[in-house]
């Protein structure tokens, strides 16, 4: 199927949220996206890049702070009736049976009596759940629950199917099975679904499903790049073309997640690089793993697969190790540096000393150490938190603060008194 005219469109959309602590978070800035008829669009990007926010905007579940949403050229008013949604957490009502859950959207669309029973039976049949009509969701496995989620969406014969990480909570086997089914549902004219928008974390999933892949960047969320995927359906995951597409997308994502080193911060003293919010053990774990590899290197997504860590988290850990000079990242390859090798050969005490030396040179730590010296060895948490909030408005200050404390304690640079809510300098 070739994409037709524009069906659903976001024009220069900006969205902001007020966080519980009063901070305003910009989730999306000036995002434009047009979804055409007969198209499958995948939205990918690091967590917190606003891709789910965009999906909710497209569904009409929230209104944008700025910009416009159009369905067939008309401004969207309220929930988009032509769409149905599938959720990562399934969002089934536990007190309704499978059939009742599937019928949720029918009543209000005026489908009653026999017509409703037919629609429910058809939707249940499409996803292969016959026989489970009277079961309650809690009696079903995750994969079965998501089938109910799909059946509920299909029951209203939606023009557009919106999916928010629909396979994210399923085990890999079930996910693969449901993915292929999603494709056949879309290609089957009987379902009425002619367009799909899917938010996903998985690169393979995006390449498997989508004709167009939109890569988001974060802080604030924006569209970085679009990738057209013209592989013919049904797609074969082991084919060289498929793998090539996956590699291309990986490369784009890696560039998004691990931007090349910025020019020296000395030129612009107002900008501090944040410290990656990762644990000490995660970074040393990564170095340990790299040591076992030939030449001490490997591509990020391969590392993430081998270590069973999700891609986002892996990239964060790599960023953390890079900040301390223990790895470099030429392209999407992670390479252990001589300093990294050295530190892994040290004993515990020497490793702490080396970390301390590295940390004190990091601009963010240098700034906090400066604050501590000014405060004669101790500052209130509030003061540091306020500082972090100003420098990094897009990062939750609390969690960054926890990271700073953890690394500071590990390197025996500083300590934290939780009762007095003060950070203290350790002098040795």
């Amino acid at each position: 199927m070739t994409p037709g005219g524009v069906l659903l469109e976001a024009r220069h959309v900006t969205q902001r949220f007020r966080l519980p602590n009063g901070q305003v978070l910009e989730a999306l800035r000036d995002v434009s996206l047009a979804v055409r008829e007969h198209e499958v669009v995948a939205l990918v990007g690091p967590s917190g890049c606003g891709k789910s926010t965009l999906l909710r905007l497209l569904a009409g579940l929230t209104r944008p702070a700025d910009g416009q949403l159009l369905y067939r050229g008309q401004p969207l008013d309220g929930v988009l009736g032509a769409a149905a949604m599938v959720f990562q957490s399934f969002a089934l009502l536990p007190w309704l049976t499978v059939a009742e859950n599937v019928a949720m959207g029918l009543e209000t669309r005026g489908v009653n009596g026999a017509a409703r029973r037919d629609a429910v039976a058809r939707a249940i049949n499409l996803v292969g759940l016959d026989g489970f009509e009277q079961a309650y969701p809690k009696e079903l496995s995750g994969g079965m629950k998501q089938r109910v989620g799909f059946a509920r969406a299909l029951a209203v014969a939606p023009e557009i199917l919106l999916m928010d990480e629909p396979f994210g909570a399923l085990d890999p086997l079930t996910a693969e099975n449901l993915r292929s089914q999603a494709v056949s549902l879309w290609r089957d004219p009987a379902t009425g679904v002619n367009t799909m928008v899917i938010v996903t974390h998985s690169v393979e999933e995006a390449v498997f499903l989508a004709g167009r892949i939109v890569v988001f960047g974060s802080n604030p969320g924006h569209v970085r790049e679009e990738l057209i995927n013209q592989l013919p359906y049904p797609r074969k995951e082991r084919s060289p073309q498929f793998e090539e597409m996956v590699d291309r997308l990986h490369a784009i994502l890696t560039a998004t997640l691990l931007p090349e080193a910025e020019p020296a911060p000395a030129a612009a003293p107002q900008r501090l690089p944040p410290f990656a919010r990762v644990h000490v053990a995660e970074v040393t774990g990564l170095l340990d793993h790299l040591l076992t590899r030939p030449d001490g290197k490997g591509p990020v997504f391969e590392l993430s697969e081998d270590l069973g860590v999700d891609y986002d988290r892996m990239s964060a850990v790599v960023r953390g190790a890079e900040q301390l000079g223990w790895v470099t990242t030429p392209g999407e390859i992670v390479q252990l540096t001589p300093a990294g090798r050295e530190i892994m050969a040290m004993d515990d005490a020497a490793r702490k000393d080396a970390t301390r030396a590295r940390l004190s040179r990091h601009p963010l730590f240098a700034r906090i150490l400066g604050m501590l010296k000014e405060g004669e060895g101790s500052v209130e948490d509030e003061e540091v938190l306020a500082d972090l909030t100003i420098y990094f408005p897009f990062i939750p200050a609390d969690s960054l603060f926890q990271t700073i404390i953890e690394w500071g304690r590990y390197a025996e640079l500083l300590d934290h008194d939780a009762d007095a809510a003060r950070l203290t300098l350790l002098t040795s």
Binding site: M85, P94, L96
Partner: protein, 589 residues
């Protein structure tokens, strides 16, 4: 299978509030207004009302009185549910309402409502002088004030914690607000509403017993019910009737538990939102019976048929309703859709509240201005005395309930064994026993001045016991094993594990226990036992006496001081203590 902790409803944890805000000030002003109104209300009452309650002490009459009491409790509970749904829904839906209603709830939950009882009874009697209507209303209103708040808070919490995907799913399905309410919001809140209803009912008996046996000086406001049966039996020294009344109360509590709450608790398991298999919920023989029986199913079919018939019968009536519908339903919607109209509406509401608050405070200040310096001195010293008693009661209750709770909580078997017993005993309304306790204490030479403390312990101890048991039962098994593996002495075990783990729950228990003790003080410091009036100096007796002698300025002063002390102490001491305990000693997470 390990026993899951006794579950306590959310309502015992205070709503998330920041420091004293503008809304609190408004609320306190409105509270002042309420005090002024009740006092003004009471003032209307002039004619000395002498109602000699006629109570038939024969055992055959007892079931009738029991049913009277039961129906008062049930009616009040139904009203409380309706109120809670409206209140919780409004607070959860509107940010502006939330900012006003949460502090209001917090204050209403903590003020000792029994302080308002004398004024309220007098006032309602004046409205309906001839019949018992005023008394009945006062009774139901008092029970309502004991039941409504935790229900409202529970519903509000459920609405607020409803997972967003579920809301999104129902909106994508095109559900309107009424469908969403009945099919999403209410079912999701069902568990909390039932568990809290159970607690509320127990709290309601306390107030009902006080109400049914209420006397003021030489005036008798007793209502036919178990409370007055007990009180008359005591007056006449009829030991057999006293015993029977206690038995009747226990039978009522046990049957309400078995016939109403137990089936409900089992049934609402269906509405559990999380996927966990659920805590150990005792089965319900009644529900099993109902599920197995044919009759209910037949009844359901009949009911459906009756509903359809009713719908058909009302069809002629529906047309005018449908005609009025756009006006009734869409009118406000349109009005509030318009930003100007909405702003005007909000402004009018705020202005109305401000005027009400201002008027209330002004009236209250007029009343309080009548108080001389000596009056204030009396108020202060009485308040001090009662405060000491309340704190003494909390300390005494802790002294026995903390160790007992730890011992019960750490042994799953014991907890399972004791749970039903404790539940019944805790539901038993302490005021029914007050006169007996007072007589017993006098035998050993303790006057009411000290005896009142014992009565207050009776009013508040269970909250502490329950909270400690559930906290200790929730200690992860591995922590207990670690303590065993490292061979800590039993003293060290208590110091390093049980006491810290129980502390956050203890702190929450103290809030409720102190609240119960303050309420108890109204009854405990001024009571009539066996025809003789016993009083002891204190804020509780001062309020009762001021009402009896129609000293309305003093009454207003008494209620005001008590409310301010309780609310202030909650905010300045209990709340910070609770949140500190929470961050410092929370087990897990």
């Amino acid at each position: 299978m390990a026993l899951k902790p006794l579950r306590l409803p959310l309502a015992l944890t205070p709503p998330p509030l920041r420091r004293l805000g503008l809304a609190d000030v408004v609320m306190l002003c409105l509270l002042g207004g309420a005090i002024a109104t009740v006092v003004a209300f009471a003032r209307e009452f002039q004619a000395p009302f002498l109602q000699a309650v006629r109570i038939d002490l024969r055992p055959v009459a007892l079931p009738k009185y029991t049913l009277f009491s039961l129906s008062r409790g049930v009616i009040a509970l139904l009203i409380s549910y309706v109120f809670a749904l409206g209140f919780g829904w409004t607070a959860a839906k509107s940010r502006a309402a939330e900012r006003l209603l949460l502090p209001l709830l917090d204050i209403l939950q903590s003020i000792p409502v029994l302080g308002f009882l004398p004024g309220l009874v007098l006032g309602l009697m004046s409205l309906f002088p001839a019949r018992n209507v005023g008394l009945e209303l006062a009774a139901i209103l008092m029970i309502f004030t004991a039941q409504a708040w935790n229900l409202a808070l529970s519903f509000y919490n459920s609405l607020k914690s409803l997972p967003e995907p579920l809301r999104d799913a129902s909106r994508m399905a095109g559900w309107g607000s009424s469908r969403t309410f009945w099919r999403l919001e209410l079912p999701a809140a069902a568990q909390g509403l039932v568990w809290n209803g159970m607690l509320s009912m127990a709290g309601g008996w306390f107030f009902l017993m006080v109400n049914e046996a209420f006397r003021l000086g030489d005036r008798d406001y007793r209502l036919p019910g178990i409370g007055s049966y007990m009180s008359v039996a005591l007056d006449r020294g009829n030991a057999q009737a006293v015993g029977l009344a206690i038995v009747a109360m226990v039978v009522m509590i046990v049957s309400v538990d078995q016939l109403l709450w137990r089936p409900l608790v089992v049934w609402v398991e269906k509405f559990r939102l999380d996927d966990t298999a659920g805590e150990l919920v005792p089965g319900s023989w009644v529900l099993e019976f109902l599920r197995r029986a044919r009759l209910p199913r037949r009844a359901a079919a009949l009911q459906r048929r009756a509903y359809r018939t009713a719908v058909r019968a009302t069809q002629p009536l529906q047309r005018p309703f449908r005609a009025a519908r756009p006006l009734v339903v869409n009118g406000p919607r349109l009005a509030f859709g318009n930003p100007v109209a909405r702003k005007l509406g909000v402004a009018a509401l705020v202005a109305g509240l401000a005027v009400a608050a201002g008027l209330g405070v002004w009236h209250l200040s007029l009343l309080l201005r009548q108080l001389g310096r000596s009056d204030w001195a009396t108020l202060a010293s009485s308040a001090g005395l009662t405060f000491v008693r309340v704190m003494g009661a909390v300390a005494l209750a802790t002294a026995w309930a903390l160790p007992a709770g730890v011992v019960i909580g750490r042994s799953p078997r014991l907890a399972q064994l004791m749970q039903p017993v404790i539940q019944v005993v805790a539901s038993f309304p302490a005021p029914m026993l007050f006169p007996l306790v007072v007589i017993a204490l006098e035998r050993v030479g303790l006057r009411l001045g000290v005896g009142a403390v014992v009565l207050m312990v009776l009013s508040g101890q269970w909250y502490i016991l329950f909270n400690v048991i559930s906290a200790v039962a929730a200690i992860p098994e591995q922590l207990k094993e670690a303590v065993t593996v490292f061979r800590l002495s039993s003293l060290a075990r208590w110091r390093s594990l049980y006491l810290p783990a129980a502390f956050p729950a203890l702190a929450t228990g103290w809030v409720t226990a102190a609240g119960g003790a303050w309420n108890g003080s109204i009854v405990a410091e001024y009571m009539e036992v066996g025809g003789a009036l016993r009083t002891t100096r204190g804020l509780g007796s001062l309020i009762s006496e001021a009402t009896a002698h129609a000293n309305f300025a003093l009454l207003a002063g008494g209620i005001t001081i008590m409310s301010v002390i309780v609310v202030g102490w909650n905010r300045l001491v209990w709340r910070p203590l609770g949140s500190w305990a929470q961050t410092r000693f929370q087990v897990g997470q």
